[in-house]
Homo-oligomer: 339 residues x 2
């Protein structure tokens, strides 16, 4: 049975949604949850009927969102340290945390370790598109800044493997985020990565070329690759734009009863939109490239988001995505070395 270690404490909303999400996951599939945190608090929240279905690992300390990620490595009694450590010690197959994402990434990379041939694990996220239920996998969205071409190249290979195995796409269309779709576009990093990705097209790697920021939301690419600094800008920009649009609409509509009625009549459409944009629907962001599975959930995850992150972790472990990554990175060594 797959064992999923769950940081019960680190989220913005406390232990409640995390424990509730774990219970919901137990209703959906068979797995062994290991809840890491203050035992008394966990047992207090968890409905008695699940008490025998979970393992609880006591952890007194908790990394707060404002703590430095580097501190996390020293605070060995924290819930996230212990949750990751269970995977490192092979007592769990995967870890899910809605806590400090920097701490989760650092700990997972250092303690669980990288897959063979991986230079740097990357964090991937599914972005919504204008096509209902179609998403674009974007990586890296924050694990690494100051990337080199070999890092972006590996992100493309890892993202393609994830899209194949987890998103069940036959021949994922991979794009390289650039300041224009023409082959000549890009900064030095992108141009050098472009050459590397072009070299593996003959191997059947479905590299479509450069993708613009707007392409993330159109659905024409399955995987879009970028440096973690740029990925963070993309992520935060999209959140900012959506928030601004809804804010202007809401404030304008509030000024007229007719407009309020209009908003009411449109609520089905807004609901469809909300569902399409809601990260809770598809879980968390996998850290790809580690020798195991770590899912980084949004700090504000509700129970549904945690449940979906746990299901995602289980699918990740069941899939052969990590061995797929190893096979391809091994095969493409010559490209990385410029041979």
């Amino acid at each position: 049975m797959i064992r999923v270690s769950i940081d019960a404490m680190g989220g913005d909303l406390g232990a409640q949604p995390i424990i509730e999400g774990t219970a919901q996951a137990l209703e959906a599939v068979r797995f062994e949850p290991i809840l890491v945190g203050r035992k008394a608090e966990i047992l207090d929240i968890l409905a008695p009927k699940y008490h025998n279905a979970v393992r609880i690992v006591e952890a007194e300390d908790m990394i707060a969102m404002h703590d430095a990620a580097t501190d996390a490595l020293k605070r060995k009694e924290s819930s996230i340290f212990k949750a990751v450590d269970l995977v490192a010690k092979k007592e769990a197959d995967a870890v899910v945390s809605a806590g400090h994402s920097g701490a989760t990434m650092s700990l997972a990379t250092l303690k669980i370790g990288r897959l063979k041939k991986v230079h740097r694990p990357a964090i991937a996220t599914l972005m919504p598109t204008k096509i209902i239920d179609k998403h674009t996998l974007v990586l890296d969205v924050g694990a690494n800044v100051d990337s080199e071409p070999k890092h972006l190249f590996q992100s493309a290979v890892m993202g393609q493997a994830y899209a194949k195995k987890l998103l069940k796409l036959d021949n994922p269309r991979v794009g390289l985020l650039a300041n224009g779709e023409e082959d000549s576009k890009g900064d030095k990093l992108v141009k050098d990565t472009f050459a590397m990705l072009s070299a593996i097209r003959k191997d059947g790697f479905n590299f479509l070329g450069n993708a613009e920021g707007s392409d993330v939301f159109k659905g024409g690419f399955d995987v879009i690759v970028c440096d973690g600094f740029v990925g963070n800008i993309l992520l935060k920009t999209s959140e900012g734009v959506a928030e601004a649009i809804f804010s202007v609409l809401k404030n304008s509509a509030a000024k007229s009863p007719a407009a309020l009625l209009g908003a009411y009549l449109l609520k089905g459409a807004f609901k469809t939109l909300k569902r399409q944009m809601d990260y809770a629907e598809y879980g968390g962001a996998p850290l790809i490239g580690i020798n195991g599975c770590a899912i980084v959930s949004h700090g504000k995850s509700n129970a549904k988001a945690i449940k979906n992150a746990i299901l995602q972790a289980i699918r990740f472990v069941e899939s052969s995505v990590n061995s797929e990554i190893s096979v391809y990175l091994e095969r493409y060594q010559s490209v990385e070395k410029g041979i």
Copy 2:
């Protein structure tokens, strides 16, 4: 009288909106328009009552959107080449073009030349925020990739001067685009630029620190600075998100008569939103740092956008923004040189 050279041919929608926009600008203020393009076509579109108010400079050739920006330097009979050349030869004070933006930027930089001490001109654009009629000036959004800290530093100084003189802000709040708002965030470029901008705070430069992608749309910063590659991603991402949101809403609403009625009742709110997001309302993107004035308009500019770009060019020339930039870049030489 201020002389504005206008590329009549290069836009996506042909000469019509450009010539119409020029006529609208003539109704609003006194200036001397110099329309550059095929004379017969221009006279055919321009209402006879304006024939004496404009100068027409014949240009047979036209740079198409798919042409390479480098070709533009050789095609001396093109409308954009001749329009920029008028400024270079001091026959015009400013140039406005809705044509090939790369060509406009290259030509303006090379032929008009840079202001003293400017390493690289930057292209700036006003992004909408959730606060009605409040925008954020973002630069660079595409003139330069592979920036060095001194380029971002100068963009901050130039953007601040533009915000003071053109946006009439007393003490513009300047931010540096980063992957988090904490001082420690950023890639190497951003961290090094952060140190430079921090050094001029004591001079009264209102550097607020790092800004996230979402901050562009919140209104808490007046100027946000980034490398041109990142700026392009930000711009295209925001376009993509807005388009996806409207597309999902429209498709969902189309499925139900009640929702369609809802959309109709909300049309005032959508109009407010559209106005807030419409680049036509505030003209074009100034290329800041050249020894003159060049406004790069959107390829799909309508007459109103062209009119506003012309008015913006006139205000630019009337303002002392270029001398303000020179004064400050001179003053900050020691920071640039790390003294």
